[in-house]
Protein backbone atom coordinates (compact mmCIF):
# COMPACT_ATOMS: atom_id res chain seq x y z
CA UNK A 1 0.00 0.00 0.00
CA UNK A 2 1.12 3.51 -0.74
CA UNK A 3 1.56 5.80 2.24
CA UNK A 4 -0.41 8.50 0.56
CA UNK A 5 -2.78 7.50 -2.23
CA UNK A 6 -2.63 10.26 -4.85
CA UNK A 7 -5.02 8.79 -7.40
CA UNK A 8 -8.71 9.69 -7.65
CA UNK A 9 -11.01 8.01 -5.15
CA UNK A 10 -14.39 6.54 -6.09
CA UNK A 11 -17.46 8.67 -5.46
CA UNK A 12 -19.14 6.47 -2.88
CA UNK A 13 -22.91 6.88 -2.49
CA UNK A 14 -25.65 4.88 -0.81
CA UNK A 15 -26.20 3.15 -4.17
CA UNK A 16 -22.68 1.87 -4.75
CA UNK A 17 -21.42 1.51 -1.17
CA UNK A 18 -22.08 -2.26 -1.07
CA UNK A 19 -19.93 -2.66 -4.20
CA UNK A 20 -16.94 -0.87 -2.71
CA UNK A 21 -17.37 -2.46 0.73
CA UNK A 22 -17.53 -5.85 -0.97
CA UNK A 23 -14.28 -5.24 -2.84
CA UNK A 24 -12.59 -4.23 0.43
CA UNK A 25 -13.55 -7.67 1.78
CA UNK A 26 -12.35 -9.25 -1.49
CA UNK A 27 -15.90 -10.06 -2.51
CA UNK A 28 -16.99 -9.19 -6.04
CA UNK A 29 -20.67 -8.35 -6.02
CA UNK A 30 -22.96 -6.45 -8.34
CA UNK A 31 -26.67 -5.67 -8.18
CA UNK A 32 -29.00 -8.26 -9.64
CA UNK A 33 -32.74 -8.47 -10.18
CA UNK A 34 -34.85 -11.07 -8.40
CA UNK A 35 -37.51 -10.54 -11.06
CA UNK A 36 -35.64 -11.06 -14.33
CA UNK A 37 -32.17 -12.18 -13.24
CA UNK A 38 -30.39 -9.24 -14.85
CA UNK A 39 -27.00 -8.23 -13.42
CA UNK A 40 -25.89 -4.68 -14.06
CA UNK A 41 -23.38 -1.89 -13.51
CA UNK A 42 -23.35 0.88 -12.36
CA UNK A 43 -25.57 0.29 -9.31
CA UNK A 44 -29.12 1.62 -9.64
CA UNK A 45 -32.14 1.78 -7.35
CA UNK A 46 -34.14 -0.49 -9.65
CA UNK A 47 -33.42 -3.02 -12.33
CA UNK A 48 -32.57 -1.08 -15.51
CA UNK A 49 -34.03 -3.90 -17.64
CA UNK A 50 -37.44 -4.57 -16.02
CA UNK A 51 -37.57 -1.70 -13.48
CA UNK A 52 -38.34 -4.04 -10.60
CA UNK A 53 -37.27 -2.79 -7.19
CA UNK A 54 -36.94 -6.36 -5.98
CA UNK A 55 -33.17 -6.41 -6.28
CA UNK A 56 -30.17 -7.62 -4.32
CA UNK A 57 -26.43 -8.14 -4.58
CA UNK A 58 -25.08 -11.22 -6.30
CA UNK A 59 -21.63 -12.71 -5.87
CA UNK A 60 -20.01 -12.89 -9.31
CA UNK A 61 -17.48 -15.28 -10.80
CA UNK A 62 -14.92 -12.52 -11.23
CA UNK A 63 -14.25 -13.80 -14.71
CA UNK A 64 -14.73 -12.17 -18.07
CA UNK A 65 -13.09 -11.19 -21.32
CA UNK A 66 -11.34 -8.09 -22.54
CA UNK A 67 -13.88 -6.17 -24.64
CA UNK A 68 -11.44 -3.45 -25.57
CA UNK A 69 -8.34 -1.74 -24.29
CA UNK A 70 -6.03 1.22 -24.68
CA UNK A 71 -2.60 2.27 -23.50
CA UNK A 72 -2.61 5.79 -22.11
CA UNK A 73 0.55 7.70 -23.00
CA UNK A 74 -0.58 11.17 -21.95
CA UNK A 75 -2.69 12.01 -18.93
CA UNK A 76 -3.27 15.12 -16.87
CA UNK A 77 -4.71 13.11 -14.03
CA UNK A 78 -3.14 13.54 -10.62
CA UNK A 79 -1.46 10.40 -9.42
CA UNK A 80 -1.34 8.68 -12.81
CA UNK A 81 1.29 10.85 -14.48
CA UNK A 82 4.13 8.74 -13.11
CA UNK A 83 2.51 5.57 -14.45
CA UNK A 84 2.46 6.36 -18.18
CA UNK A 85 2.22 4.41 -20.36
CA UNK A 86 -0.43 2.38 -18.53
CA UNK A 87 -3.27 0.24 -19.83
CA UNK A 88 -6.98 0.74 -19.34
CA UNK A 89 -9.33 -2.03 -20.37
CA UNK A 90 -13.02 -2.64 -20.62
CA UNK A 91 -13.88 -6.13 -19.40
CA UNK A 92 -17.14 -7.90 -20.19
CA UNK A 93 -17.95 -10.00 -17.15
CA UNK A 94 -19.29 -13.52 -17.72
CA UNK A 95 -22.53 -12.28 -16.12
CA UNK A 96 -22.89 -9.52 -18.74
CA UNK A 97 -21.99 -6.05 -17.41
CA UNK A 98 -18.85 -4.26 -18.52
CA UNK A 99 -16.39 -2.56 -16.20
CA UNK A 100 -13.52 -0.16 -16.81
CA UNK A 101 -10.39 -1.53 -15.20
CA UNK A 102 -6.64 -2.02 -15.56
CA UNK A 103 -5.01 -5.29 -16.54
CA UNK A 104 -2.11 -6.60 -14.48
CA UNK A 105 0.50 -9.29 -15.13
CA UNK A 106 0.47 -8.63 -18.89
CA UNK A 107 2.52 -6.61 -21.35
CA UNK A 108 0.60 -4.22 -23.62
CA UNK A 109 1.76 -6.16 -26.69
CA UNK A 110 -0.10 -9.24 -25.46
CA UNK A 111 -3.46 -7.61 -24.80
CA UNK A 112 -6.19 -8.63 -27.25
CA UNK A 113 -9.95 -8.29 -27.45
CA UNK A 114 -11.44 -11.54 -26.20
CA UNK A 115 -8.62 -12.38 -23.79
CA UNK A 116 -10.05 -14.32 -20.80
CA UNK A 117 -9.33 -12.58 -17.51
CA UNK A 118 -10.09 -12.90 -13.81
CA UNK A 119 -10.36 -10.40 -11.01
CA UNK A 120 -7.44 -9.35 -8.83
CA UNK A 121 -8.30 -7.54 -5.60
CA UNK A 122 -5.84 -4.68 -5.49
CA UNK A 123 -5.67 -3.13 -2.00
CA UNK A 124 -4.39 0.28 -3.01
CA UNK A 125 -5.13 2.21 0.18
CA UNK A 126 -6.72 1.75 3.54
CA UNK A 127 -10.33 0.67 2.93
CA UNK A 128 -9.91 1.03 -0.84
CA UNK A 129 -9.66 -2.06 -3.00
CA UNK A 130 -9.86 -1.83 -6.78
CA UNK A 131 -11.10 -4.53 -9.14
CA UNK A 132 -8.21 -5.12 -11.51
CA UNK A 133 -7.95 -8.11 -13.85
CA UNK A 134 -5.22 -10.50 -14.97
CA UNK A 135 -5.08 -13.08 -17.75
CA UNK A 136 -6.73 -16.33 -16.82
CA UNK A 137 -4.12 -19.07 -16.61
CA UNK A 138 -4.28 -21.57 -19.48
CA UNK A 139 -6.65 -24.46 -18.83
CA UNK A 140 -8.73 -22.59 -16.27
Amino acid sequence: MEAEYEKPLPGVTNLNRPYWEGLARHEFRLPHCHGCGHVWYPPAPWCPRCHSRDTGWAALSGRGRVNSWTVVHVTGLRGFRGDVPYNVAEVTLDEGPRLITNLVDIEPGSIRVGLPVEIVYDDVAEELTLARFRPLAAGQ
Binding site: P42, T70, V71, V72, V74, L77, V88, N102
Partner: protein
Protein backbone atom coordinates in the same frame (compact mmCIF):
# COMPACT_ATOMS: atom_id res chain seq x y z
CA UNK B 1 -53.95 14.55 -32.92
CA UNK B 2 -51.54 15.26 -35.70
CA UNK B 3 -47.90 15.98 -35.05
CA UNK B 4 -46.51 19.48 -35.39
CA UNK B 5 -45.17 19.94 -38.90
CA UNK B 6 -41.74 21.54 -38.61
CA UNK B 7 -40.17 20.76 -41.98
CA UNK B 8 -38.86 24.00 -43.51
CA UNK B 9 -40.65 26.11 -40.89
CA UNK B 10 -37.43 27.55 -39.43
CA UNK B 11 -34.29 28.80 -41.10
CA UNK B 12 -30.82 30.00 -40.31
CA UNK B 13 -30.56 33.65 -41.32
CA UNK B 14 -27.13 34.54 -39.99
CA UNK B 15 -23.89 32.98 -38.80
CA UNK B 16 -20.90 34.46 -37.04
CA UNK B 17 -17.79 33.44 -35.18
CA UNK B 18 -14.85 34.86 -33.31
CA UNK B 19 -11.24 34.20 -34.14
CA UNK B 20 -10.23 30.67 -33.05
CA UNK B 21 -6.95 29.98 -31.30
CA UNK B 22 -5.10 28.73 -28.27
CA UNK B 23 -4.51 31.04 -25.32
CA UNK B 24 -6.20 34.04 -26.90
CA UNK B 25 -6.32 35.68 -23.46
CA UNK B 26 -9.88 36.76 -24.13
CA UNK B 27 -12.86 36.03 -21.95
CA UNK B 28 -15.66 33.80 -23.17
CA UNK B 29 -18.09 36.73 -23.00
CA UNK B 30 -15.80 38.80 -25.19
CA UNK B 31 -15.58 35.98 -27.74
CA UNK B 32 -19.35 35.45 -27.57
CA UNK B 33 -19.97 39.07 -28.50
CA UNK B 34 -17.93 38.62 -31.68
CA UNK B 35 -19.99 35.58 -32.65
CA UNK B 36 -23.39 37.06 -31.80
CA UNK B 37 -22.55 40.42 -33.35
CA UNK B 38 -21.14 38.76 -36.45
CA UNK B 39 -24.25 36.60 -36.89
CA UNK B 40 -26.57 39.60 -36.49
CA UNK B 41 -24.61 41.60 -39.04
CA UNK B 42 -24.59 38.63 -41.44
CA UNK B 43 -28.40 38.56 -41.23
CA UNK B 44 -28.79 42.31 -41.51
CA UNK B 45 -30.09 42.43 -37.94
CA UNK B 46 -28.91 44.15 -34.77
CA UNK B 47 -28.16 42.54 -31.37
CA UNK B 48 -31.32 44.27 -30.13
CA UNK B 49 -33.38 42.07 -32.48
CA UNK B 50 -32.30 38.92 -30.66
CA UNK B 51 -35.01 37.75 -28.25
CA UNK B 52 -33.99 34.15 -27.66
CA UNK B 53 -30.68 32.59 -26.64
CA UNK B 54 -29.72 28.93 -26.42
CA UNK B 55 -26.24 28.20 -25.15
CA UNK B 56 -24.24 25.02 -25.44
CA UNK B 57 -21.54 24.37 -22.80
CA UNK B 58 -21.32 27.39 -20.48
CA UNK B 59 -19.51 27.22 -17.13
CA UNK B 60 -16.78 26.22 -16.48
CA UNK B 61 -15.40 26.53 -20.02
CA UNK B 62 -17.70 29.13 -21.52
CA UNK B 63 -20.18 31.91 -20.89
CA UNK B 64 -23.65 31.12 -19.56
CA UNK B 65 -26.87 32.27 -21.22
CA UNK B 66 -28.22 34.36 -18.33
CA UNK B 67 -24.87 36.10 -17.89
CA UNK B 68 -24.62 36.85 -21.60
CA UNK B 69 -28.08 38.41 -21.58
CA UNK B 70 -27.21 40.66 -18.65
CA UNK B 71 -23.68 41.61 -19.62
CA UNK B 72 -24.36 42.11 -23.35
CA UNK B 73 -27.73 43.79 -22.82
CA UNK B 74 -29.93 41.26 -24.64
CA UNK B 75 -33.66 41.44 -23.86
CA UNK B 76 -34.70 37.81 -24.06
CA UNK B 77 -38.17 36.26 -24.14
CA UNK B 78 -36.56 32.87 -23.68
CA UNK B 79 -33.20 31.27 -22.99
CA UNK B 80 -31.93 27.83 -22.19
CA UNK B 81 -28.64 26.04 -21.85
CA UNK B 82 -27.28 22.54 -22.11
CA UNK B 83 -24.78 21.18 -19.62
CA UNK B 84 -21.03 21.58 -19.95
CA UNK B 85 -20.58 18.89 -22.54
CA UNK B 86 -20.09 19.18 -26.26
CA UNK B 87 -22.72 17.09 -27.94
CA UNK B 88 -25.62 19.54 -28.04
CA UNK B 89 -25.29 21.67 -31.18
CA UNK B 90 -28.22 20.00 -32.96
CA UNK B 91 -30.22 19.90 -29.72
CA UNK B 92 -29.92 23.67 -29.37
CA UNK B 93 -30.79 24.38 -33.00
CA UNK B 94 -33.75 21.99 -32.88
CA UNK B 95 -35.08 23.74 -29.79
CA UNK B 96 -34.69 27.10 -31.55
CA UNK B 97 -36.64 25.82 -34.56
CA UNK B 98 -39.48 24.76 -32.26
CA UNK B 99 -39.39 28.05 -30.34
CA UNK B 100 -39.69 30.23 -33.45
CA UNK B 101 -42.29 27.94 -35.03
CA UNK B 102 -44.35 28.23 -31.83
CA UNK B 103 -43.96 32.01 -31.75
CA UNK B 104 -42.25 32.00 -28.35
CA UNK B 105 -39.40 34.14 -29.73
CA UNK B 106 -38.54 35.56 -33.13
CA UNK B 107 -34.76 35.60 -33.40
CA UNK B 108 -32.98 32.88 -31.44
CA UNK B 109 -29.21 32.95 -31.16
CA UNK B 110 -27.79 29.44 -30.74
CA UNK B 111 -24.17 29.37 -29.74
CA UNK B 112 -21.18 28.24 -27.77
CA UNK B 113 -18.29 30.30 -26.49
CA UNK B 114 -15.21 28.72 -25.01
CA UNK B 115 -12.26 30.10 -23.17
CA UNK B 116 -10.87 26.71 -22.31
CA UNK B 117 -7.18 27.35 -22.78
CA UNK B 118 -6.94 30.94 -21.60
CA UNK B 119 -8.93 33.02 -19.15
CA UNK B 120 -10.53 30.76 -16.54
CA UNK B 121 -12.00 32.86 -13.75
CA UNK B 122 -11.59 31.26 -10.35
CA UNK B 123 -9.21 28.52 -11.40
CA UNK B 124 -5.68 28.72 -10.07
CA UNK B 125 -3.13 27.30 -12.46
CA UNK B 126 -0.49 27.66 -9.75
CA UNK B 127 -2.23 25.13 -7.57
CA UNK B 128 -2.59 22.72 -10.47
CA UNK B 129 1.13 22.85 -11.15
CA UNK B 130 2.12 22.20 -7.56
CA UNK B 131 0.03 19.08 -7.28
CA UNK B 132 1.70 17.44 -10.29
CA UNK B 133 -1.48 17.12 -12.29
CA UNK B 134 -5.13 17.81 -11.82
CA UNK B 135 -8.02 16.11 -10.14
CA UNK B 136 -10.68 14.40 -12.22
CA UNK B 137 -12.50 16.40 -14.84
CA UNK B 138 -15.95 17.47 -13.63
CA UNK B 139 -17.67 15.45 -16.31
CA UNK B 140 -15.77 12.31 -15.31
CA UNK B 141 -16.75 12.79 -11.67
CA UNK B 142 -20.48 12.76 -12.40
CA UNK B 143 -22.48 10.29 -10.33
CA UNK B 144 -23.03 7.20 -12.44
CA UNK B 145 -19.95 7.83 -14.56
CA UNK B 146 -18.62 10.12 -17.26
CA UNK B 147 -20.42 10.23 -20.57
CA UNK B 148 -17.33 9.16 -22.53
CA UNK B 149 -16.64 5.99 -20.54
CA UNK B 150 -14.46 7.74 -18.01
CA UNK B 151 -13.54 6.10 -14.73
CA UNK B 152 -10.94 8.27 -12.95
CA UNK B 153 -10.29 5.58 -10.33
CA UNK B 154 -8.69 3.46 -13.07
CA UNK B 155 -6.88 6.35 -14.74
CA UNK B 156 -9.26 7.84 -17.29
CA UNK B 157 -11.04 11.11 -16.75
CA UNK B 158 -10.61 12.67 -20.19
CA UNK B 159 -12.72 11.61 -23.19
CA UNK B 160 -9.88 10.16 -25.24
CA UNK B 161 -9.25 6.72 -23.68
CA UNK B 162 -12.92 5.85 -24.16
CA UNK B 163 -12.68 6.86 -27.81
CA UNK B 164 -9.45 4.89 -28.08
CA UNK B 165 -11.12 1.75 -26.74
CA UNK B 166 -13.98 2.12 -29.23
CA UNK B 167 -11.39 2.50 -31.98
CA UNK B 168 -9.38 -0.52 -30.80
CA UNK B 169 -12.53 -2.67 -30.70
CA UNK B 170 -13.28 -1.58 -34.28
CA UNK B 171 -9.69 -2.24 -35.43
CA UNK B 172 -9.66 -5.78 -34.04
CA UNK B 173 -13.16 -6.57 -35.29
CA UNK B 174 -12.68 -5.38 -38.88
CA UNK B 175 -8.90 -5.52 -39.35
CA UNK B 176 -8.68 -1.74 -39.82
CA UNK B 177 -5.52 0.13 -38.90
CA UNK B 178 -4.28 3.50 -37.73
CA UNK B 179 -3.05 4.02 -41.28
CA UNK B 180 -6.63 3.72 -42.52
CA UNK B 181 -7.71 6.34 -40.00
CA UNK B 182 -4.97 8.69 -41.20
CA UNK B 183 -6.86 9.40 -44.40
CA UNK B 184 -9.61 11.16 -42.39
CA UNK B 185 -7.10 13.51 -40.77
CA UNK B 186 -5.31 14.13 -44.07
CA UNK B 187 -8.55 14.98 -45.91
CA UNK B 188 -9.77 17.38 -43.25
CA UNK B 189 -6.38 19.08 -43.08
CA UNK B 190 -6.59 19.68 -46.82
CA UNK B 191 -9.90 21.45 -46.17
CA UNK B 192 -8.36 23.52 -43.39
CA UNK B 193 -5.51 24.54 -45.69
CA UNK B 194 -8.19 26.24 -47.81
CA UNK B 195 -9.88 27.91 -44.81
CA UNK B 196 -8.31 31.13 -43.47
CA UNK B 197 -10.16 30.69 -40.12
CA UNK B 198 -8.62 27.27 -39.42
CA UNK B 199 -5.98 27.02 -36.72
CA UNK B 200 -3.98 24.26 -38.47
CA UNK B 201 -3.48 24.94 -42.17
CA UNK B 202 -0.23 23.09 -42.93
CA UNK B 203 -1.01 20.07 -45.15
CA UNK B 204 -0.20 16.65 -43.69
CA UNK B 205 0.45 13.20 -45.13
CA UNK B 206 -0.38 9.69 -43.97
CA UNK B 207 3.28 9.42 -42.91
CA UNK B 208 2.95 12.57 -40.78
CA UNK B 209 -0.05 10.97 -39.09
CA UNK B 210 1.82 7.72 -38.49
CA UNK B 211 4.77 9.64 -37.05
CA UNK B 212 2.64 11.70 -34.66
CA UNK B 213 2.85 10.65 -31.02
CA UNK B 214 0.62 8.03 -29.45
CA UNK B 215 -1.79 9.65 -27.00
CA UNK B 216 -4.28 6.94 -25.98
CA UNK B 217 -3.33 4.05 -28.25
CA UNK B 218 -4.25 3.41 -30.98
CA UNK B 219 -5.13 7.12 -31.31
CA UNK B 220 -2.33 9.48 -32.27
CA UNK B 221 -2.01 13.21 -31.88
CA UNK B 222 -3.30 13.78 -35.43
CA UNK B 223 -6.48 11.86 -34.56
CA UNK B 224 -7.20 14.53 -31.90
CA UNK B 225 -9.09 17.82 -32.24
CA UNK B 226 -7.76 21.35 -32.04
CA UNK B 227 -8.75 22.49 -28.54
CA UNK B 228 -9.09 26.24 -28.80
CA UNK B 229 -10.79 29.32 -27.46
CA UNK B 230 -13.50 30.77 -29.63
CA UNK B 231 -17.20 31.28 -30.18
CA UNK B 232 -19.66 30.58 -32.97
CA UNK B 233 -23.29 31.56 -33.36
CA UNK B 234 -26.22 30.61 -35.58
CA UNK B 235 -29.37 32.77 -35.73
CA UNK B 236 -32.64 30.89 -36.17
CA UNK B 237 -35.86 32.59 -37.30
CA UNK B 238 -39.13 31.54 -38.97
CA UNK B 239 -38.57 30.71 -42.64
CA UNK B 240 -40.93 33.46 -43.85
CA UNK B 241 -39.04 35.96 -41.68
CA UNK B 242 -35.71 34.78 -43.12
CA UNK B 243 -36.85 35.47 -46.68
CA UNK B 244 -36.98 39.20 -45.91
CA UNK B 245 -33.46 39.37 -44.48
CA UNK B 246 -30.07 40.10 -46.00
CA UNK B 247 -28.88 36.61 -46.93
CA UNK B 248 -30.77 33.76 -48.60
CA UNK B 249 -32.37 31.54 -45.94
CA UNK B 250 -30.95 28.13 -45.13
CA UNK B 251 -33.97 26.01 -44.24
CA UNK B 252 -34.05 23.45 -41.47
CA UNK B 253 -35.76 20.58 -43.30
CA UNK B 254 -35.06 17.64 -41.03
CA UNK B 255 -34.43 17.17 -37.33
CA UNK B 256 -33.62 14.06 -35.32
CA UNK B 257 -33.07 14.48 -31.59
CA UNK B 258 -30.33 13.06 -29.43
CA UNK B 259 -31.17 9.60 -28.06
CA UNK B 260 -30.01 8.17 -24.72
CA UNK B 261 -30.14 4.83 -22.97
CA UNK B 262 -28.02 1.82 -22.19
CA UNK B 263 -27.65 1.03 -25.89
CA UNK B 264 -26.42 4.55 -26.66
CA UNK B 265 -22.83 5.63 -26.14
CA UNK B 266 -21.17 8.78 -27.40
CA UNK B 267 -18.50 7.01 -29.45
CA UNK B 268 -20.48 4.19 -31.05
CA UNK B 269 -23.88 3.39 -32.53
CA UNK B 270 -26.39 1.01 -30.91
CA UNK B 271 -25.40 -2.63 -31.06
CA UNK B 272 -21.68 -1.87 -31.40
CA UNK B 273 -21.01 -3.53 -28.05
CA UNK B 274 -18.90 -1.23 -25.91
CA UNK B 275 -19.79 0.42 -22.60
CA UNK B 276 -23.14 -1.21 -21.68
CA UNK B 277 -24.31 -1.57 -25.27
CA UNK B 278 -25.65 -4.87 -26.51
CA UNK B 279 -23.69 -6.39 -29.37
CA UNK B 280 -25.82 -7.17 -32.38
CA UNK B 281 -25.80 -6.49 -36.12
CA UNK B 282 -26.54 -2.84 -36.90
CA UNK B 283 -28.71 -1.68 -39.75
CA UNK B 284 -29.13 2.02 -40.38
CA UNK B 285 -32.54 1.61 -42.02
CA UNK B 286 -34.56 4.74 -42.71
CA UNK B 287 -33.72 7.27 -40.05
CA UNK B 288 -36.48 9.71 -38.97
CA UNK B 289 -34.53 12.76 -40.15
CA UNK B 290 -34.88 11.64 -43.78
CA UNK B 291 -38.60 11.00 -43.38
CA UNK B 292 -39.10 14.46 -41.90
CA UNK B 293 -37.10 16.11 -44.69
CA UNK B 294 -38.89 13.89 -47.23
CA UNK B 295 -35.65 12.85 -48.88
CA UNK B 296 -33.21 9.98 -48.75
CA UNK B 297 -29.44 9.71 -48.42
CA UNK B 298 -28.91 10.14 -52.13
CA UNK B 299 -30.07 13.78 -51.79
CA UNK B 300 -27.24 14.62 -49.37
CA UNK B 301 -24.60 16.74 -51.14
CA UNK B 302 -22.25 16.91 -48.14
CA UNK B 303 -22.17 15.28 -44.72
CA UNK B 304 -20.90 17.05 -41.64
CA UNK B 305 -20.22 15.33 -38.35
CA UNK B 306 -18.69 15.87 -34.93
CA UNK B 307 -15.07 14.78 -35.38
CA UNK B 308 -13.72 15.19 -31.86
CA UNK B 309 -11.61 12.16 -32.82
CA UNK B 310 -11.00 10.97 -36.38
CA UNK B 311 -12.65 7.62 -35.58
CA UNK B 312 -16.04 9.30 -35.12
CA UNK B 313 -16.20 9.98 -38.85
CA UNK B 314 -16.30 6.23 -39.46
CA UNK B 315 -18.98 5.76 -36.81
CA UNK B 316 -21.14 8.49 -38.34
CA UNK B 317 -20.86 7.07 -41.86
CA UNK B 318 -21.96 3.65 -40.62
CA UNK B 319 -24.64 4.87 -38.20
CA UNK B 320 -26.36 6.92 -40.88
CA UNK B 321 -26.07 4.23 -43.52
CA UNK B 322 -23.66 5.85 -45.95
CA UNK B 323 -21.83 2.54 -45.76
CA UNK B 324 -22.24 -0.76 -43.91
CA UNK B 325 -20.52 -1.64 -40.62
CA UNK B 326 -16.86 -2.32 -41.32
CA UNK B 327 -16.82 -0.46 -44.64
CA UNK B 328 -15.95 3.04 -43.43
CA UNK B 329 -12.14 2.61 -43.68
CA UNK B 330 -12.55 1.96 -47.40
CA UNK B 331 -15.12 4.73 -47.74
CA UNK B 332 -12.82 7.44 -46.40
CA UNK B 333 -9.84 6.58 -48.63
CA UNK B 334 -8.54 8.36 -51.72
CA UNK B 335 -10.02 11.77 -51.01
CA UNK B 336 -13.60 10.53 -51.28
CA UNK B 337 -14.64 12.73 -48.31
CA UNK B 338 -12.85 15.84 -49.60
CA UNK B 339 -14.83 18.81 -50.88
CA UNK B 340 -14.37 17.65 -54.46
CA UNK B 341 -14.91 13.96 -53.65
CA UNK B 342 -17.89 11.61 -53.77
CA UNK B 343 -19.26 12.62 -50.35
CA UNK B 344 -17.68 15.84 -49.05
CA UNK B 345 -17.39 15.95 -45.24
CA UNK B 346 -16.38 18.67 -42.76
CA UNK B 347 -15.16 21.07 -45.41
CA UNK B 348 -13.91 23.71 -42.95
CA UNK B 349 -11.38 21.25 -41.56
CA UNK B 350 -13.72 20.29 -38.72
CA UNK B 351 -12.69 19.79 -35.13
CA UNK B 352 -9.55 18.00 -36.27
CA UNK B 353 -8.08 20.97 -38.11
CA UNK B 354 -10.27 24.11 -38.10
CA UNK B 355 -11.23 24.33 -34.42
CA UNK B 356 -12.86 22.18 -31.76
CA UNK B 357 -15.95 24.18 -31.02
CA UNK B 358 -18.12 21.14 -30.36
CA UNK B 359 -19.61 21.29 -33.83
CA UNK B 360 -20.64 24.94 -33.77
CA UNK B 361 -18.01 26.00 -36.30
CA UNK B 362 -19.41 23.24 -38.49
CA UNK B 363 -22.91 24.75 -38.42
CA UNK B 364 -21.38 28.01 -39.66
CA UNK B 365 -19.61 26.19 -42.48
CA UNK B 366 -22.74 24.29 -43.53
CA UNK B 367 -24.67 27.53 -43.89
CA UNK B 368 -21.88 29.15 -45.88
CA UNK B 369 -21.61 26.11 -48.18
CA UNK B 370 -25.33 26.28 -48.92
CA UNK B 371 -24.99 29.97 -49.74
CA UNK B 372 -22.00 29.30 -52.00
CA UNK B 373 -19.67 31.42 -49.86
CA UNK B 374 -16.82 28.91 -49.42
CA UNK B 375 -14.44 29.98 -52.17
CA UNK B 376 -11.64 27.49 -52.88
CA UNK B 377 -13.31 24.75 -50.84
CA UNK B 378 -16.86 25.28 -52.16
CA UNK B 379 -18.79 22.07 -52.78
CA UNK B 380 -20.11 22.63 -56.26
CA UNK B 381 -23.91 22.71 -56.46
CA UNK B 382 -24.43 22.08 -52.72
CA UNK B 383 -28.18 22.21 -52.05
CA UNK B 384 -28.70 19.78 -49.16
CA UNK B 385 -26.27 19.21 -46.29
CA UNK B 386 -26.73 16.88 -43.34
CA UNK B 387 -25.28 17.23 -39.84
CA UNK B 388 -25.31 13.69 -38.45
CA UNK B 389 -23.38 12.35 -35.51
CA UNK B 390 -21.97 9.08 -34.28
CA UNK B 391 -24.12 9.58 -31.18
CA UNK B 392 -27.36 9.74 -33.11
CA UNK B 393 -28.69 13.26 -33.67
CA UNK B 394 -29.06 15.05 -36.98
CA UNK B 395 -30.17 18.11 -38.90
CA UNK B 396 -30.84 18.40 -42.61
CA UNK B 397 -30.31 21.88 -44.00
CA UNK B 398 -31.23 22.97 -47.52
CA UNK B 399 -31.03 26.20 -49.43
Amino acid sequence: MTTLELKDRAAVCGVGHSVYGRKLNRSAIDLAADAIGGAAEDAGLAPADIDGLIVSMGTPYGADADTLAQVLGLELKMYSQTWAHGRFAATCIQQAAMVVAAGMANVVACMASLSATGVRPGLSTQRRRRSGGRGPDREAAREGGGGHGQDPVYGIDAPDPGAAMATQAYFERYGATSRDLASVAVSFRRHASLNPAAVRRDPITVEDHQASRLMAAPLRLLDYPQLVDGAACVLVVRADHARNLRKPPVLISGMQPLPAGRDEFIWTYPGFGVAQQARRPYEAGTQPVYRMADMDRSAIDALFTYDGFSFLVWMALERWGFCNPGEAPGFTRDGRIEFDGALPMNTSGGSLSEAHLMGWNQQVEIVRQLRGECGDRQVSGAEVIQWANAYGDSLIYRR
